[in-house]
């Protein structure tokens, strides 16, 4: 059943140019999955001979590469700007369903503004009316009732009293859902009337239209999702159904999810499948969509009639429909091998499902994939970054990323999934469980919690029964029994040790225990276990993901490991290298690293190598089966990677793209005799090891902030007394600056030291805190030559994590001779370490002198930003160098810092703290942003303005600025206020700050904290400037204002530097010329 070009031409009639909208910065609930689907869509549209114009403000995406679309606009995703782009480009079609909620909302806004009509732009794919029917609660309700599909009883209210009344009527618990917010922001399950009062008032305030829905709670029912595709000819298929292990009440994004459903009878599976198709037809979806159901765990019964069904008598409820590709559709695509976004894009062009080819089998795309393996998805949460945040899970999504694993049993997939999370757990065991008392343990079980999986296992270890856990969690016994089997196996391994007969060992391996886990539980070394295993001929076999359970020959090399008979991997090419991805997205290791991984893959292929990818993040492009030559959906632990390398007989491994995770695997892999391509493992080790690195810099006589280590509180205090303040204090083991605190007073020193000593065994690290200008570079070196595309400067002074600060490229305040010194330091470091590949260095320029803060011998977070701002293909060059070529071959002889590019570029961080209840959005040495946007302009101010707008700062800041700063900052704040006033900002301030401002003769309105918060809630202020009195401490006035501001999405600046930039940006007149990225 091949495509029929003739029909296609008719379908895409009059279409030559299409505008595709991306999803913007990564925030919780809207992540890399939209780069994946958007890029797939771009490729599909271009294959259909169309010209594609793309707009997205997120530079860390593949879709914003000049090669992906014909014209790329790295511009703010706000209606005004997109309207300008439409006016400039005049596309005939617009595809908004690939850009998440952002894409849908923008499309709707453009239609409302009449822009689409004015310029004759057709909305491709699911029509706007259908989107509205799915998104607008009232319309949705009406549509479902017309179809006889049961919704949980609910009442829409716009006051707290009405909410309480409704709750009484429906009976507690109830779910409170604010209308029109992303990812369930501000919603929650209310068990008591007090909860109702609290959540409803927050929700009403958060909702764009001051409305919340009070809905009967079915927490504890099974939560089931169906991924459906429908074409304009009304053919509809279900690509995949997925079952949430955590029942209703935990957001699907925060649930452990399995595919296909494991505990549904055929009757239940098809009851919901039929309903899903009816719903999708009723709504009029044309493309991909996601239907969520709640299923009564006591079993579904046939509905006698619509009324009976509507009463819930059918045994299920419809929860929601997402009329677009989503995180779930990305997961479903990777779980089945069925490329949903590609197919949806073709449907948008008017093709019928039976005219589209299944890229994997070469057969028709109009069928339903059959799986012969189990998929497990496990979320990863950012709580380690937000000490104050509430770690329990609910109806509002909190995770930043997820790992996916495939296995031939639930247990195997679960164990591989946990390994992929990279949490330092050993199977279902983690050292933290040892610290849990009975209450801690059961608290994590009774209320859904970040660590519930580990708690369940620990409870079983401590003698709890499956029945008890089922009762406490409403998790289906099937899953609890799987966990129980794993815990039982642990005990067996403990008692029998690891050298057992082949059958026993095979049984354990099939449960998903790897060498490390077997070693841990049997008290032997992983090396012994491995030797014993191989002696018995037990090595992993790799099976293919083929969409059809082996029924047809598959074309696509997409593999997962298991311990069975047959291995399906054909012999590899002669020159093959393994490239490691970055696993689940987490703060500090985000989509930027997938950008580098994908470019690494492409460079590898261009260089004539087979690119073999190992990664486990289902959201990303690097796990799209047709990006690499071979894809292994596997954990990134050294053992798992080693197995792949050995199976493929690959020449070596590339570890510089995926961030810290692959880097950590480098040393063990090297010790296992596997070749690391590029910079040597020894050099990597030096750059990662504080002592060795300090020694190196000393030897090269390159300055670095003075540092000390202390074992006890007294030592810390002694050092602080001797060396003076301020100091930067952190525990010895640091990932992404975790646990770093700036201590300015002795009290803060003690507090920080206590915390550091508590978090990690091992010493406390102290650094002289140099409050200077932070400068960063991303360069490529080959041991001789060094190419530095540009220097970036952080707008905020050092002390704000480079990942969280505004970055300006090129650096404007770095004096020429300081720059010369910086380049010289970089060159000497690259020679000393014989760097072959990426070189990222962070400096702090203090009193005119650069100091090295840290060196990362890997692609950094800013590689995509720098590549796009300067047009230098950093990743391609780095990859070529890793493969042994010299920079000179690409015309980069010697040590070069390229001249400044034509336009200024600004990278602005975007935070999701609003979603993490109780988290302090304070800027500090601890990275907390989840995403970033880029703005460019002919002046720094213009670039800043673009970036601010893209980051969600309202275009017209005609409203006022609310200031409330720490005493230490009052003087500077007054200066700032003066400039702000001069630039036409109205000023409001809390008493202390106001006094300082008034003293400067600047008019300011004085308000107390209550008044201030009221203004914020009412969105009566354009932005908040608030600097903390001391390190984070909940409950303090500063914290309260910040917190409220974040929850109500009012731009908040916790550093005067950023605030200064804001005023600079909005001082002069806006320019309104969207500019395409140069190709």
């Amino acid at each position: 059943m091949r495509e029929m070009p003739t029909r296609t031409r008719q379908a895409a009639h009059g279409l030559r140019k299409v505008l595709l909208i991306g999803s913007g910065p990564i925030v919780i609930g809207q992540a890399a999955e939209f780069d994946y689907s958007g890029t797939q869509a771009c490729r599909t549209l271009r294959e259909a001979g169309l010209e594609v114009v793309l707009v997205n403000s997120n530079p860390a995406t593949i879709m914003t590469d000049p090669e992906v679309a014909d014209r790329v606009y790295l511009e703010p995703l706000v209606p005004e700007v997109v309207a300008d782009i439409i006016a400039r480009e005049r596309p005939q079609g617009l595809l908004g369903t690939m850009g998440g909620q952002t894409g849908l909302n923008l499309t709707a806004a453009l239609a409302e503004m009449g822009v689409l009509e004015r310029f004759g732009v057709r909305v491709l794919g699911t029509p706007l009316e259908a989107v509205a029917r799915a998104e607008d609660r009232a319309l949705f309700k009406a549509t479902m009732e017309a179809l006889g599909e049961p919704l949980p009883p609910s009442v829409t209210v716009d006051s707290v009293d009405q909410a309480l009344e409704a709750a009484r009527r429906l009976g507690l618990p109830v779910v409170v859902r604010p209308a029109f917010t992303l990812g369930g922001s501000g919603g929650g399950i209310a068990a008591t009337l007090d909860d109702v009062r609290e959540i409803a008032s927050r929700g009403i305030a958060l909702s764009r239209i001051g409305q919340v829905l009070i809905e009967k709670s079915v927490a504890g029912w099974k939560e089931i999702e169906y991924e459906v595709i429908r074409d304009a000819a009304d053919n509809a298929i279900v690509v995949c159904n997925m079952e949430n292990v955590d029942p209703m009440g935990v957001h699907t994004g925060d649930s452990v999810v399995v595919a296909p459903s494991q505990t549904l009878s055929d009757y239940e599976y098809h009851l919901l499948r039929t309903a899903a198709l009816r719903i999708v037809r009723g709504l009029g979806i044309e493309g991909a969509c996601n239907v969520q159901f709640a299923l009564d765990p006591t079993g579904a019964r046939p509905a006698q009639d619509a009324a009976h069904a509507a009463s819930g008598g059918a045994g299920y409820y419809v929860i929601e429909v997402n009329p677009r590709v989503s995180r779930s559709s990305a997961l479903a695509s990777k779980a089945t091998g069925y490329p949903i976004a590609r197919v949806a894009a073709q449907i948008a062009l008017g093709r019928r499902l039976d005219e589209i080819t299944n890229a994997i089998t070469g057969g028709t795309a109009c069928f339903e994939p059959a799986l012969d393996y189990v998929v497990v998805k496990i979320p990863r949460w950012p709580f380690d970054k937000f000490p104050g945040a509430d770690r329990t899970l609910g109806t509002q999504m909190k995770s930043t990323g997820e790992a996916m694993a495939l296995g031939r049993t639930f247990e195997e997939a679960l164990m591989k999934g946990i390994r992929s999370l990279d949490l330092g757990a050993i199977g279902l065991w983690h050292r933290m469980v040892e610290g849990w008392g009975h209450e801690d343990l059961w608290a994590r079980i009774r209320r859904p919690h970040e660590h519930r999986l580990f708690a369940l296992a620990e409870a079983l270890r401590r003698g709890a029964t499956v029945a008890e856990l089922t009762a406490a969690t409403r998790i289906d016994p099937f899953f609890v029994r799987g966990i129980a089997r794993l815990v039982a196996a642990e005990a067996e391994i403990r008692s029998r040790g690891a050298d057992v007969d082949a059958a026993t060992l095979a049984a354990w391996l099939r449960l998903g225990f790897d060498d490390r886990a077997l070693a841990h539980f049997s008290g032997r070394t992983a090396r012994d276990v491995r030797a014993a295993r191989r002696a018995l001929g037990l090595t992993p076999r790799y099976k293919c993901v083929d969409t059809c359970a082996g029924e047809f020959p598959a074309r696509t090399p997409y593999y997962y490991s298991t311990y069975e008979d047959e291995d399906e991997v054909p012999p590899a090419g002669t020159r093959a290298a393994v490239i490691l991805g970055s696993g689940p997205i987490r703060i500090g290791q985000g989509i930027e690293f997938d950008y580098s991984t994908v470019h690494g893959i492409q460079a590898l292929k261009q260089a004539g190598w087979d690119a073999i990818v190992v990664n486990n993040n289902p959201e990303t492009l690097s796990t799209d089966f047709d990006i690499s030559d071979r894809l292994y959906m596997e954990p990134l632990s050294p053992d798992d990677v080693r197995a792949v390398v050995e199976r493929e007989g690959a020449q070596g491994v590339l570890v510089q793209f995926g961030g810290q995770t692959p880097l950590n695997a480098a040393i063990p892999l090297a010790q296992a005799g596997i070749r690391i391509l590029g910079t040597s493992p020894e050099a990597l080790d030096i750059s990662e090891d504080r002592r060795k690195f300090a020694a190196l810099l000393h030897e090269l006589n390159i300055p670095q902030p003075a540092g000390w280590t202390a074992e006890t509180l007294d030592e810390v205090v002694a050092i602080a007394a001797r060396e003076g303040l301020p100091l930067l204090i952190r525990p010895s083991y640091v990932l992404g600056g975790r646990g770093m605190v700036i201590a300015r007073t002795m009290d803060e020193v003690r507090a920080a030291a206590r915390q550091a000593l508590a978090t990690e065994s091992g010493p406390v690290l102290l650094d002289r805190y140099l409050e200077g200008l932070e400068v960063e570079m991303d360069a490529v070196a080959d041991g001789t030559n060094l190419l530095i595309p540009a220097l970036m400067e952080q707008i905020e002074r050092a002390g704000v994590h480079s990942g969280d600060s505004l970055a300006l490229l090129p650096a404007r305040s770095v004096h020429a001779d300081v720059a010369r010194v910086i380049v010289d330091y970089a060159a000497r470091i690259s020679w000393a370490l014989q760097v072959r590949g990426f070189l990222n260095i962070q400096f702090v320029v203090y009193r005119g002198r650069p100091y090295v803060l840290e060196v990362n011998l890997r692609a950094s977070r800013t590689v995509p930003f720098v590549s796009k701002a300067t047009g230098v293909p950093l990743v391609r060059l780095a990859t070529e160098v890793m493969l042994g070529r010299s920079l000179a071959e690409f015309g980069h002889q010697g040590v070069t810092l390229l001249p400044a590019p034509a336009r200024w570029a600004v990278k602005a961080p975007v935070f999701s703290s609003g979603k993490l209840f109780g988290a302090d959005p304070l800027l500090g040495p601890e990275m907390r942003s989840t995403g970033e946007v880029m703005g460019t302009g002919l002046t720094p101010a213009a670039a800043l303005r673009r970036a601010f707008v893209a980051a969600g700062v309202p275009v017209d800041l005609a409203r006022s600025l609310l200031l409330s700063v720490a005493d230490r900052d009052k003087h500077d704040a007054a200066d700032l206020a003066a400039t702000a006033h001069a630039s036409g900002f109205a000023l409001i301030a809390t008493p202390g700050t106001a006094a300082a401002i008034a003293a400067r003769g600047v008019p300011v309105q004085i308000v107390d904290v209550e008044e201030a918060t009221r203004l914020v809630c009412g969105r009566d202020v354009g932005a908040v400037v608030n600097t903390p009195t001391q390190g984070y401490q909940a409950g303090r006035t500063g914290f309260t204002i910040r917190r409220i501001a974040f929850e109500f999405n009012v731009p908040t600046f916790t550093s005067l530097d950023s605030a200064r930039a804001l005023i600079e940006a909005f001082a002069d007149e806006p320019h309104r010329d969207p500019v395409p990225l140069l190709r």
Partner: protein, 370 residues
Amino acid sequence: MRALLALEDGLVLAGESIGAVGSTGGEVVFTTSLTGYQEVLSDPSYRGQIVVMAYPLIGNYGFNDAWLESHRPQAAGLVVRWAAPAAGGDGADREAGGPDAARASAGLDAYLRASGVVGISGIDTRRLVRHLRTAGTRRGVITTDDESPGDLVARARALPDLGEIDLVAQVSTADVVRWLAPGPRVAVLDCGAKQGIVQCLRARGCDVVLFPHDTPAAAIRAIEPEGLVVTNGPGDPARLGALAAEVRGLWEEMPVMGICLGHQVLALAAGGRTFKLPFGHRGSNHPVRDETTGRVAITTQNHGYAVDEASLAGTGFEVTHYNLHDGTVEGMRHRRLPVFSVQYHPEGRPGPQDSAHLFDRFLDMVRDHA
């Protein structure tokens, strides 16, 4: 206990015994259905066949008589990667309050044993599926006896070809069964009917009368049916010449609907031919296009033979449905008479309900005919 699976072509796989102790033999086929293991086991069309479940986990959600497609499991044997073990009365099902609480705890092994089915688990079923896909359907045996692989393969080779056995006689009803109802009287010629077919008719108010496969046309006429359904069933349709002749005599008189084997019988009755597919169609995800509407339906399939399109030329029948995977005939209708048939299962069970409307179409014909 250890068990072995041996195919006639020499492939021998070792696993764990599940279900009854002993040996079984039959044609080894695979299904890709993700759910509905109990419906599959009890589908009479699997008579004489050892079923390989491509989906690895079987027994997860328990067992329930409501999911039986006939009074007992029919498959000659079952091959799985993982069999849900007995919960050992951990009581969790009761806590969860599932309807199949007690049964879920029993586990696949116990269920098969209770119904006398010999099975094997711990098999690399994907390998087996890929083998059957390329080698084609094979005869095979499962046994718990410890016999040499060589002897087992010999036993597999010694098995009769399914075409030589009168399987329909084994599964068809012994005597006439009637479900009185006020609706139209529909005769169902039982070649091994799934409960689902009868229930789809009863759910539409039909007065259903189930006849043994060897009922002469006259006996069927005698109850003055308003329509006739020829059902699914096991084995080679070519054996059913006599049955086909009887049907031919009836379709001039009343609307006729053929399902699966029934569809093939109609083709034979019309003078068409059937042929054996390399490894059959078995699963819940087969796309079928209705050429009269251009619409595609996802269908449940379970057949090893298909109707030869060319052979329908000049029979008065025209092809209405094709399989999007291999282009084989999935449905036909008579140009003049209210007679149509589909190769797939509109009743689903297991599988989609997308085609349930075919029963309505049949009943419309019945009403128009009256």
